[in-house]
Amino acid sequence: MAKLPKVDVVCVGFGMVGGIVANELTKHAPNLRIVGLERGPFRDTYPDFLEDHFDEWKYAVQSELFQDLSRNTITFRNDMKQTALPMRQFGSFLPANEVGGAMVHWNGASWRFLDYFFEYRTHLEQRYGKDFLPEDCTIQDWGITYDELEPYYDQYEKMFGIAGKAGNLRGEIIPGGNPFEGSRSNDYPQPPNKIAYGPSLFREACENVGYHPFPQPSANSPSTYTNPDGMTLGACDYCGFCERFGCHVGAKASPIVTVIPHALQSGQVEIRQFSNVFRINHEDGKVTGVSYYDANGIEQEQPADLVIMGAWVLENVRLLLLSQIGEPYDPNTGKGVIGRNYTYQLGGAGGTVWYTDRILNRFMGSGANGFCIDDFNSDSFDHSALGFIGGGNIACNNTGARPIQGSGPLPTGAARWGSEWKKATKEYYNRSVNFGMQGESPAYRQHYLDLDPTYRDAFGHPLLRMTFNWTDNERKMVKYVAEEALTRIASAMGGQIQEVRDTITDYSIVPYQSTHCTGGAIMGADPSTSVVNKYCQVWDVPNLFVIGAANYPQNGGYNPTGTVGALAYHAVDAIIKKYLPSPGMLA
C-alpha cells in the first residue's frame, strides 16, 4: 500500500456533489488542491453520447451507465425477521457508475421541496396533534429551513439552467405556476420546454377538474443556455432518450456539462477514474484521508485535510459504517444514527388513458417534459379525516417510448405474445398517456440501513443491508390519491380506455421504481438523532462532510435531485466562508 502525498481536499465520488463542491472551492480558494475519486469512467457528450446514446438495449436494459453489480450491490429484506439477500440484478433503482454521477443518466425532473417540509414533524403535530403520526413514525425536522436554503436552490437552478415557471415569486402567486411552492427569490432561469401532446391533454383535464397544473420543472434545456460560470448547455432535441442515457447534445444539465469541466479548467482538480474508496481514515475525532483501490485494484492511501463524501446515497452510508464513523443505528433501541431513517419514493398510484381516435407521438419528448399538480402533495390537502400523512406530486411526462421497455402499457387483458399481442401493440403503442403520483416516504423506526453480516463486495468488504417496506400509511395514501384524483383526471382526459392503479402491497427490489433512495445519514439539529448538522458536517468530525440525499430525514413527494444541489451549494458556501478561515464545527 502506498501512502500518497497529502492534498487539501478529497471528494469521494465525483458526481453532482463532488462537482459542485470542487467547482466552488476552485473559484474561492485558488490555492487548494482537490482530488476526486470516482469508481466509474468519464464519459463525455462527445464522443460518448453524441455517437452512441440511441441504444436502448445497451444503455437502458443492459445497464451500461449503472453501478457494476458484479462488484458491489446491496442486500435487501422487507423486515427484520427475514434474511436479507443480495440484489443480484437491477432493480428497483439505478445508481450510477461514472464521473458526473446519476445526473448523467437522469430524466431531469428538478424540484424544490415544499417550504414546510423542512419542519415537517412540527408542521404535522401543530396541525393535527402529536397522536396523528403513524405508529413508529420517525419523521423529523431537518434542522434547516426553506428560507435558509432558498438562495442555494436559486444558485443551483442557475448553474444547471433549470426550466420552469414560478408559481410563487417573492410571495406573489403567479398563474400557471405551482401555487403550492415556497416563495422563490427568482423565477426559473429558463422558460418551460416545448411540451408534448399527451401531457397537454393531462393539463387540460386537470384544469377541467379544478386542479392547478403547471409545467414540470426541467433540466432538459429548452435553448442554449450559458450559466454564471460561462458553461453552456445545448438545446434539447426532444429525442426521447434521457433516463438511463447520456445526452447527445449536452442539453440535459449534469455535472459533466457544467461544474466538472469548469472545475477542471482551474488546474486545481484531479479526477482519478476507476477508484473505489473503501474507508475514510480517522484519528482522534478527525479524518486523515481515505483509502481506496486504484484503477488497477491496488490499495492506495490518500491523506487529506478535508474529506467530502459525495458518493451516491447508499454508498455514502456504507462507507460511514465501514469506516466506523458515528454510532450505527439500532432499530430495537432506537439508538444510534448511521443508517437511521432510510426512506424511498412511493409509487403505485398511476393511471393510463388510451385513445383510439388519435396518435400521440409518445417517442418525442424528454425526461422532464410534462405537467404536474401539487394539489395532492404533502399537506396541500386536509388529512384530519383521512388516517394517513403525506401525499405526492402527480405528473404526466413524455419521457420517450423506447420500444423494449416502453412498447406498452397495453390495456388489462391484452395478450402478452402471439398475433394478438402484435395487434394490440401496433394499435396502442402510440396512443397511451401515463400519469402518476410520486409519493412521500415517511421514516419509520424499523426501516434502516446497516452492514450485511454475510455478503461481501468484490474487494471483501460487507455489503450494505436494506430493511424496508411500505406500511398501511402509504397504502392508504396510494388508495386515496388514486381514487380521489387519478380517476377524476383519467375520466376528464376522455380516451376510449382508462385504467387507474390504486393498490400497493410489499416493497419489492425487483421492478424499477425510481432511483430516489434517501436517508441513512440524515441531517438535524440534534446529534443523537442525526448524522450531520445543517451544513452536512458530520457531528464531532469537523473535517468530514457527507452531502446528498442520504441527508434527508424523510423523502418528499418529489424527485430528490434539486435539493441535493441546494444542500451542496449551502454546504460549500459555509466551508468557504466559515470552515476554511477557522476549521472546526460550524455553528
Partner: protein, 320 residues
C-alpha cells in the same frame, strides 16, 4: 420519475424456482401405447455411469452421439446428423440474408428450438414480419455469448445462494447460458412427451403454442438439471424429487419472451430487429437526433422515416 410506461411494461427477470414435486405430464393427445413408446424412444435420455455407458449420448436429435445408448438414440454420428436435418427442417436460420450466419453460442439444435419458439411469441402474420424475419435468434445467441451477464447486464454472483421471497428477486446461481441450456432441453423433452416424440421445432404452430402456454401457466413444471437413464419403456421417477433443481418452465418462458421481444425491438446493431421491422410495426423512428420541430405538432403522424444506430454512427463518425 413518472416513467409509467417503462415501469409497467419492463419485463422483470424471471425467477428460477425449485422443484415443486413430480413432473406433471399433461394428457398427451397421442397417449396410446404406440405413441407413448415413441415418446420414450425419442425422449431425452442420458446414459448414466451406472449402466456402464459413458454419459454423453443423448437421443435428442442434434446432439452429438459419441456412444450408443441402450435405448435407441442415434447410434452413430451419421444417424445423429440425419436427425438434425430432420429437426431443423429447412433450416430457416441459415437463410434470410443475415450477415455471416452461424451461431456464436448456440448449437444449431438449440437455435432451431429458440427460433421456433420466438416465431410463435412474435409470429409472422398478416400484420407483417415477426421474430424470424427480425433475426431474433441471432440477437439471443449474441447475448448468451456474454457468459457472466443477465438480462439486465452484470449480476452479483457470490454466495451463499438461498431461495428468497419474491420481493428479493431472482437468487439463482445459474448463468444465463445455462438457463437456456437446461430450458431448451426441458422444453424439447416436454414437447416430445406431449406430442408423441415430435420435438418442438417439428410441431405445428398450434401445438407449439400449447407447449408455450403450458410453460407460461405452469402446467409444465420444472425443467430439471437432473440426468437419469430410465429403461426404455417406462418413466422412472427421480430418486428424490426434492433434490431436483433447474429452471421452472414458467421462468424459462418468461426469459424466452423477454429476450424475444428485446430482439424484436433492440437496435439492429445487436443482431435482431433486422431492417428495423420491429420499429416499423409500431412506428418507432429509431435513432433520430430529435423532434424539435415536430413535438408541438400534436396528433400529426411522424413522417421522418426510420434510422438505425449504424446509420447514425456513420453520420457522426469524424464529426463534432
Amino acid at each position: 420519475m413518472h416513467d409509467d410506461a417503462t415501469r409497467d411494461t419492463e419485463r422483470e427477470a424471471p425467477v428460477v424456482g425449485a422443484a415443486s414435486g413430480q413432473d406433471k405430464t399433461p394428457e398427451s393427445p397421442e397417449s396410446d401405447s404406440l405413441a407413448q413408446r415413441r415418446v420414450n424412444r425419442r425422449r431425452l435420455m442420458f446414459a448414466s455411469a451406472a449402466t456402464g455407458v459413458a454419459a454423453t449420448a443423448m437421443a435428442v436429435p442434434g446432439l452429438r452421439a459419441q456412444e450408443a445408448t441402450p435405448s435407441g438414440g442415434p447410434a452413430t454420428a451419421q444417424e445423429a446428423a440425419t436427425q438434425v436435418a430432420t429437426v431443423t427442417g429447412e433450416q430457416p436460420m441459415t437463410e434470410g440474408g443475415h450477415v455471416g450466419g452461424g451461431f456464436a453460442h448456440f448449437v444449431p439444435f438449440q437455435a432451431a428450438i429458440v427460433e421456433a419458439a420466438a416465431a410463435r411469441l412474435v409470429p409472422t402474420d398478416d400484420l407483417g414480419p415477426g421474430a424470424t424475419e427480425a433475426g431474433v435468434v441471432y440477437f439471443i445467441d449474441r447475448q448468451l455469448a456474454k457468459e457472466h451477464e443477465g438480462f439486465r447486464g452484470p449480476i452479483y454472483n457470490q454466495g451463499p445462494f438461498l431461495a428468497g421471497k419474491a420481493t428479493q428477486g431472482d437468487q439463482s446461481m445459474l448463468s444465463m447460458p445455462h438457463r437456456f441450456r437446461i430450458g431448451i432441453l426441458g422444453m424439447e423433452h416436454y414437447a416430445r412427451q406431449v406430442y408423441g416424440g415430435r420435438g418442438f421445432a417439428q410441431l405445428d404452430p398450434d401445438e407449439q403454442d400449447r407447449i408455450l402456454r403450458d410453460m407460461e401457466d405452469g402446467t409444465a413444471d420444472l425443467f430439471s438439471a437432473t440426468l437419469t437413464a430410465p429403461p426404455a419403456e417406462q418413466q422412472t421417477p427421480p430418486f428424490d424429487p426434492s433434490a431436483q433443481s433447474g429452471i421452472t418452465a414458467k421462468a424459462f418462458f418468461e426469459l424466452l419472451l423477454s429476450y424475444t421481444i428485446a430482439g424484436f425491438f433492440a437496435d439492429p446493431v445487436h443482431g435482431g430487429n433486422r431492417d428495423m421491422v420491429g420499429w416499423k410495426m409500431i412506428g418507432f423512428p429509431g435513432a433520430q437526433m430529435g423532434y424539435r420541430d415536430w413535438i408541438l405538432r400534436y396528433g400529426e403522424p411522424y413522417t421522418g422515416g426510420y434510422k438505425s444506430l449504424a446509420e447514425h454512427q456513420a453520420e457522426m463518425s469524424g464529426g463534432a
